[in-house]
Every structure is written in structure tokens, then in C-alpha cells.
């Protein structure tokens, strides 16, 4: 087993057994939201890391899934499974449409257009009452119930979010090795050459964006169950940017980074708020420091540290081996 596999197995084991030894506060209020925001940020990492498309609309797509679920279950009185389907479909379809609009641009243009699209949805949610419930949004959203228990009880919900987090992470890692994922990376690095090879560049991008929308939608469903309500505040400018902050702090180019960043983000917002009211300034400073000094985020730092450690170990083992041989 490689050292990386050992580390990964240990982390999964620790996470699986966490409710048994972790404090309820950490299980319910730190790690659960960290997984949820991690899934949403993961959709950004998929787009940005592999496809080179830095989108600011991922929280909007997540929020739309939540709105879809809330609208169907609360306003229409449909059962939860209809809500789940409807929410996911809404997020995916809107992602497809956004993709169609945005993929012809790239780089900062893409960033600007997705930001504008996200903020237009925010404005719409604020104005429209019949679907979005206007300024107050949709209240009293109930999670699915299984065997008479609400899914959001602390421990089951922790496991649900953990499993969804692991599954989406595995999916993204798997995608990166499929021909589709490889083409996506190639397209990020040199779209012109890929077009010359006969790939449909725009179609690839739209597909990736739609897929990321689906991921964000899954995260959005978890989030709306966690919060029990949704309002335009959930998808306002600050929240859209938060997803970017999470992904950048963790490392925009790494799938692990989404979850790492989410954990740091939730920890900082929870603990900084206990000693200062200005925890957003703290978040902003951490984010700024990451962008300025470590563009690869915590994952980049971690990987560099790991590589350095391996080098040191290798040197030591190698010299020990030499000593034995003599």
C-alpha cells in the first residue's frame, strides 16, 4: 500500500467513527455543514480545476435545487421524493442553460458572466412570490422521513452528508480519469488544439457545467434540509463568493481542497465569531493571504509538505539501507 492510500484509509476510518468519539457539536455543527459546503465547492473545483472555468454561480445552482425542493414539498404539498427529483432537475436544467450562455467566454469573462447570472437569479428570487416566495423565501421545509425519523437527526444526517461527500469526491476523481475528464483538462490547457483534433469544445464545456450543476444541486438539497428554510439570502452575493472562498482556501485545483476549505471556513466562522464580531474580516484576510501567498491553497501547501517529508524519509531510509549493506 502506498503512503497516500494509508493516509486516505485512516481519514475515512476516522470520519466513519467520528460520531462515536467526537463531540456532538463538532459532529452536527462543524463537520456536517463542512461536508455540505464541500460538495457545493467540489462542483466549482471540478469546473475550475479540470475545466478551467471559474464559476461564481455554483451557490445559485445549489440554491435552486433547494428552492425546487421547498416549492414542491411546501407550496405544492408533494412528497419528498418528488421534491428531490424536482430540485435536482431544476438545478441541472438551469446549469445547462447557464452553460450554453457562458461557455463561449473564458477566464475572467466567464467569472463575470456567471456572477451576473447568479445575481440575476437572486434578484428574481427576491421579486417573485409565486415560485420563490419573495423576500421571506420558503419556510418550514421538512427533510425526508425514513422509518418515522427525520433524516436530519444529528448522527444519521452526519452519515448522509459524509456518504454524499465521499461519493461525489469519488465521482469527480473518477471523471478526471475518463476520456471525458482528460479531454476537459486538455481543453483547459489548449482549446484550439483540441478543436483541431475534432472535439466539440463548447459541447464539452456545457456538459461539464451541467454535471457540476447536478453536483451543486445535490449539495443544495443537503443544505436546505440542514437549514429547514430557504430565502434569497441563501444565494446573495456574499454566499456566492463564500463558495469561491472555500474552494480557493482549500485549493481550486484539487478535489480534496473543496472539503478542506469548507472545514476551515466553517471552523473560522464558528470560532472567530466567538471572540470577534468581525469574523467576515478574518475570512477575507485568510482568503486574501491564500490568493497572494499560496495560490494552490491548503491542498497545495499540504502536498508540498508531504513531498518534502517523503524526500526526507527517503534520504534517511536510503542512508540506513546503505549502512546495513556495508
Amino acid at each position: 500500500m502506498s503512503p497516500r492510500a494509508v493516509v486516505a484509509a485512516l481519514i475515512v476510518l476516522a470520519l466513519l467513527s467520528f460520531p462515536a468519539w467526537g463531540s456532538p457539536y463538532f459532529v452536527g455543527r462543524i463537520f456536517t455543514p463542512a461536508f455540505i459546503f464541500g460538495v457545493i465547492a467540489l462542483s466549482l473545483c471540478l469546473l475550475a480545476g479540470y475545466g478551467g472555468m471559474v464559476s461564481l454561480a455554483q451557490m445559485t445552482l445549489a440554491g435552486l435545487a433547494g428552492y425546487g425542493y421547498g416549492h414542491l414539498t411546501v407550496m405544492q404539498g408533494q412528497p419528498w421524493w418528488v421534491g428531490i427529483l424536482g430540485g435536482i432537475v431544476l438545478a441541472t436544467v438551469v446549469a445547462f442553460l447557464f452553460g450554453l450562455i457562458a461557455v463561449r467566454s473564458s477566464g475572467i469573462y466567464f467569472l463575470m458572466i456567471t456572477l451576473a447570472l447568479g445575481m440575476v437569479v437572486y434578484a428574481l428570487a427576491n421579486q417573485n412570490r409565486s415560485f420563490f416566495g419573495g423576500h421571506t423565501g420558503i419556510l418550514g421545509i421538512r427533510p425526508p422521513e425514513l422509518f418515522g425519523h427525520a433524516l436530519t437527526e444529528r448522527v444519521p444526517f452526519y452519515y448522509l452528508c459524509l456518504v454524499v461527500g465521499l461519493a461525489t469526491y469519488a465521482l469527480v476523481r473518477y471523471l478526471a480519469r475518463t476520456p471525458f475528464g482528460l479531454a476537459l483538462v486538455a481543453l483547459r490547457d489548449n482549446p484550439r488544439r483540441l478543436a483541431a483534433l475534432g472535439f466539440h469544445v463548447a459541447l464539452h464545456r456545457v456538459t461539464a457545467f451541467t454535471l457540476a450543476g447536478l453536483l451543486a444541486g445535490v449539495g443544495g438539497l443537503l443544505l436546505v434540509w440542514y437549514n429547514g428554510a430557504i430565502s434569497p439570502t441563501t444565494i446573495d452575493l456574499t454566499r456566492l463568493i463564500n463558495i469561491m472562498v472555500i474552494a480557493v482556501i482549500g485549493g481550486l485545483m484539487y478535489a480534496e481542497g473543496a472539503f478542506l476549505g469548507a472545514l476551515v471556513f466553517v471552523l473560522v466562522t464558528n470560532f472567530a465569531s466567538s471572540f470577534t464580531q468581525r469574523f467576515n474580516t478574518v475570512i477575507g484576510l485568510v482568503f486574501l493571504a491564500t490568493v497572494l501567498f499560496s495560490p494552490e491553497g491548503l491542498s497545495g501547501l499540504g502536498l508540498r509538505a508531504l513531498a518534502a517529508l517523503q524526500r526526507i524519509l527517503r534520504v534517511r531510509f536510503a542512508s540506513a539501507e546503505r549502512a546495513e549493506m556495508q
Binding site: V54, I101, M112, I113, M119, Q127, G284, F287, L288
Partner: protein, 289 residues
């Protein structure tokens, strides 16, 4: 819609367009010259508004407040450019991310300093109150007409500066090809810094001018950032006429749709943006990237 209603909505649209123009022109000039998407532009607007209000409140002079807003926001922009952005020049995305970070911190600090209150300006009496417009036969607030005149004057001045002065020629050349401008021996870094300061200052000035139409409060930064984004996406980045045309288009569409079907007004601005992007991805007056 009745005739007086139609005239009022049209005038509202035009005065809103004037405001959008004043806000977005700084954004588009900064983008055109420096290739920086300044996502802290809304924060500069709000910052200018707050500073302007505070100065006007202490001194009793609205004009002094507007001047202070321009200078202080311009200074803030200069610090942002020289302190944070210059080391990253050429890395578009990181520069945009830095401005995001600044906007988070700025929003939080402004909330700490000025709180969640709403601040009302009191412009000089000469431009407040109502006026009867002779030909159209309706009454209309004087201040809104002042905003319209102000935007027109600003547009003309900027146009003259860009087309007639040495700075303007340098700036236009820098928009076209900044490497060549640097190669012929012009200190582009100074042009960049000056441009950033002017763009930021205009955002701050817009904070006072726009804040006086309604009022100023936290959250306005997001609203005017969105307005700037849509206007420059529709008009084309870095283009003065594009910004003017797009501001009029966006504001009129917004006001008409608000009057006709209020709950779906956001969709209409969205459709406008989509339409332009579908036909001309670089914006109405933009050049292909």
C-alpha cells in the same frame, strides 16, 4: 400605460441610465486599461457614499461631500492597485480574486463603522424639489434631472479627455496594446495607477450622486456591482460609447419591465444580457478578445 405614466417611466429609465453610466464607466475603464475585473467596484461605490455622507454631515456641504467621496475612493483605489494588484499584473484571475477578498473585508469593516442604517443625503436646494417640464406636461424631481445632466457632462468630459489629451491617447493606446505602449517608452505603470485611481474615484463619486437619488445603506454595493457587470457585459468592456449605450438600454428595459410586470423584471435584464451574449459575445461595442 397612460401617456404621463409612460413619460415618467421613460424619464426614470434615463436618469437611472445616467447613474448606471457614472458607476459603470470606472469599472469599464479599469478593465479596459488594466484588464482587472474589479469586483470591489461596488464596495468603492458604497465607501464613497458613506464617506461623502459623513463629510457632508459634518461640513453641511453636499458638494464638499461629493468631492471627498471622489478623492477618498480614488485614494483607496490607488492603494488597492499599488499595494495588492501590481505584483500580480498579468494574472487576471488572481487579480479578480484579490478584489473579491478586498470586497469581503471592506463590506464587513463598513458595516462595523456605519452600521446597517440608511443614510439620506440633502443635496443643495438649487437641485432639489420638483419642476414642471413644459412640453411633456408632467412634474418631475429636479435632482434626477441633475443626475442626467451630470452624467452627460461626465461623458462629454471623458470623451474629450480620451480623444484630445495626451493622457487620453496613451490610455486608448494602452487599451489596444499595452505592450507596445510600454515598448515605446511610456511609463505604463503610472498610467495604470492613474486610471485605477480615476475609475475608483468615479465609483466613489457615484456613491454620493446615486445615494442622493434614494439613500445609501449596506447591500447597495452588490446592487451596483451587478449593474456595472451587466452594463459592461452588454456594452463591451473598455468602451466609453458602449457603456453609455448599454447603460441606457439596461436601465430603460429595467424600468419598463418593472412598470409592466414587476415580479419578472429580473428575467428581462437577464434575457437582454443573454441576447447580446448570443449575438455578440464581446458586447455591443467590444472588440473580439
Amino acid at each position: 400605460m397612460t401617456w404621463p405614466q409612460f413619460v415618467t417611466v421613460t424619464l426614470n429609465g434615463l436618469t437611472l441610465a445616467a447613474l448606471y453610466f457614472v458607476v459603470a464607466i470606472g469599472f469599464t475603464l479599469i478593465f479596459g486599461v488594466l484588464r482587472v475585473v474589479n469586483l470591489a467596484h461596488g464596495s468603492l461605490y458604497l465607501f464613497g457614499g458613506y464617506v461623502g455622507w459623513s463629510v457632508a454631515d459634518r461640513s453641511g456641504s453636499w458638494l464638499l461631500g461629493a468631492l471627498a467621496a471622489f478623492l477618498v475612493a480614488g485614494l483607496a483605489g490607488l492603494v488597492l492597485e499599488l499595494g495588492l494588484l501590481r505584483p500580480l499584473h498579468g494574472q487576471d484571475l488572481r487579480e479578480a480574486l484579490v478584489t473579491i477578498g478586498v470586497s469581503i473585508i471592506a463590506a464587513d469593516l463598513m458595516l462595523a463603522r456605519w452600521g446597517g442604517f440608511t443614510y439620506d443625503f440633502s443635496p443643495p436646494e438649487a437641485i432639489t424639489g420638483g419642476v414642471r417640464i413644459p412640453v411633456l406636461g408632467i412634474g418631475y424631481p429636479k435632482y434626477r434631472l441633475f443626475v442626467l445632466a451630470f452624467a452627460l457632462a461626465l461623458g462629454v468630459v471623458l470623451w474629450m479627455v480620451l480623444s484630445r489629451t495626451r493622457l487620453g491617447i496613451t490610455v486608448r493606446a494602452a487599451i489596444d496594446d499595452r505592450d507596445i505602449v510600454a515598448a515605446v517608452g511610456i511609463d505604463v505603470q503610472r498610467v495604470f495607477a492613474a486610471m485605477f485611481a480615476i475609475g475608483a474615484g468615479l465609483a466613489g463619486l457615484a456613491g454620493v450622486v446615486g445615494g442622493s437619488v434614494l439613500s445609501i445603506s449596506s447591500g447597495e454595493d452588490a446592487r451596483y456591482l451587478l449593474a456595472s457587470l451587466i452594463v459592461v457585459i452588454v456594452g463591451g468592456m473598455g468602451s466609453l460609447p458602449g457603456t453609455a449605450v448599454a447603460a441606457i438600454l439596461v436601465a430603460l428595459v429595467e424600468q419598463y419591465s418593472l412598470a409592466l410586470f414587476a415580479t419578472y423584471a429580473a428575467i428581462v435584464s437577464f434575457l437582454l444580457m443573454v441576447l447580446v451574449l448570443a449575438v455578440r459575445p464581446q458586447g455591443l461595442f467590444g472588440r473580439p478578445a
